[in-house]
């Protein structure tokens, strides 16, 4: 169907002018991109469309001739997804080409009704496909963003910190699911080996709910640490969570649990043969007690 290509080529300037005018009226986001940039993009897209129609025909979007147009539209829509355009705005960029294109077809083929209808249909089909392509690229860009954020969140939220020589702490923030438990477990065990720590305190103050599954994940981590020769203490058990654990019948009897991280640290220090003493200068210090740690 080279008629469409001919019409577009002959009326290119007019189509582009009308298209830009329409876009400026309805959907230009001057807060997100400049007018010059929009014009540049429109020109490039129109040229690519002309090339696609000429070489591969208006319906075969996977054809070679459409490569440039496909790449261009994917690039434009993914960059717009990052800039914060809405899906409607991104799809309308392509769909708004319909009106100027249709008026050009009407001017050229007003004598023959049947031919006019056929050409309009072909043009509609072509532009719809291009719009779908654009939307798909938009969604793909958004999904990639979400996946990357998830990954970052997972890595960020599981630090293992050293509290004292031989004592580690693992503050868990957020819900524990299977994939996170895996990351947490590997992190903790690796740090136990590299720092040669005998005690690990798992602080669950930041875990919103503890159900049987979360408890099972915790127990797995504790068992693995025990197999390596380290001892785990769970701290930060809130009153509601203590009630939930008992109501669900979760057996934590083999695990040491404490209400506060400080209690757990005190226990770990005591078990490793250290005691905390108040310095005699404490009375004069305005900041409160200056503690010292005595090695047994």
């Amino acid at each position: 169907m080279s008629e469409l290509a001919e019409i577009i080529t002959q009326n290119e300037d007019q189509i582009r002018a009308e298209w830009l005018r329409d876009m400026a009226k309805s959907l230009q986001r001057s807060d997100l991109m400049s007018k010059a940039e929009l014009e540049e993009q429109s020109l490039a897209v129109l040229n690519a469309v002309v090339m696609g129609v000429k070489t591969s025909g208006p319906t075969d979007m996977s054809g070679k001739g459409w490569n440039t147009a496909r790449e261009l539209l994917q690039e434009i829509s993914s960059s717009r997804a990052r800039q914060g355009f809405s899906p409607t705005e991104v799809a309308s960029f392509v769909l708004s080409l319909k009106q100027p294109l249709f008026s050009a077809i009407r001017r050229e083929q007003s004598k023959n009704q049947d031919k006019l209808f056929d050409t309009v249909w072909v043009a509609t089909e072509m532009l719809d496909r291009l719009a779908l392509l654009t939307t798909e690229a938009y969604i793909a860009a958004r999904e990639e963003l979400i996946a990357r954020q998830q990954q970052e969140l997972m890595e960020l939220s599981t630090p293992v910190v050293k509290l004292w020589e031989g004592i580690l702490a693992l503050p868990i923030i957020g819900t524990l699911d299977s994939s996170r438990t895996q990351v947490v477990m590997e992190n903790l065990l690796q740090t136990i080996v590299s720092t040669n720590s005998k005690y690990a305190i798992i602080d669950i103050t930041g875990v919103p709910t503890v159900d049987t599954l979360v408890a099972q994940h915790l127990l797995k981590t504790i068992t693995a640490a025990r197999l390596m020769g380290a001892e785990c203490i769970i701290s930060g058990v809130r009153p509601q969570i203590a009630q939930t654990i008992v109501h669900l019948g979760i057996n934590l009897e083999d695990v040491i649990t404490k209400a506060k991280l400080s209690d757990a640290l005190a226990l770990a220090l005591q078990r490793s043969g250290r005691s905390v003493i108040r310095s005699t200068a404490a009375g004069t210090s305005s900041a409160g007690a200056v503690a010292g740690i005595k090695e047994a």
Partner: protein, 131 residues
């Protein structure tokens, strides 16, 4: 290598597993350990698995078995230096080795054993002195 060496250190047995265990090797080790405990009257068994990188359920059960058999013969068992990957695998296999004591390093394991068999500590030291 057709068997894993079992070393005698005073009243302790020292076993270092440095090759990938296969089933026959594991059974041989089980035989050797029980044999040595009764022969030398050992009171502690220290198994160093820091070079072990692959485990299956059979090896896991073998470790538990050696610990249980040693206890029957009157010796404590400590497994030391388990790698994180090995620990995770055993937990995923559902083997928490409840009767086995563990330590991070050979040093910590020795301390644990001497602590558990405190009465024999002097005896062990005497024997070191003779060697």
């Amino acid at each position: 290598m057709d068997r894993i060496p079992v070393l005698r250190m005073g009243s302790l047995l020292l076993i270092t597993i440095q090759v990938d265990m296969h089933d026959k090797l594991a059974l041989q080790l089980q035989d050797d350990v029980t044999q040595r405990i009764s022969e030398w009257g050992s009171t502690g068994v220290l198994i160093d698995i820091s070079s072990l990188e692959i485990v299956d359920s059979f090896i896991g059960r073998m470790l538990a078995n050696i610990a249980a058999m040693s206890r029957v013969l009157g010796a404590e068992t400590v497994v030391v230096g388990m790698q994180p990957a090995v620990a995770i695998t055993l937990v995923e296999l559902g083997m928490s080795l409840p009767g086995v004591r563990t330590a991070l390093s050979v040093e910590a394991g020795m301390e644990l054993l001497f602590g558990a068999t405190l009465g024999f500590k002097r005896e062990a030291e005497d024997e070191f002195g003779e060697m």
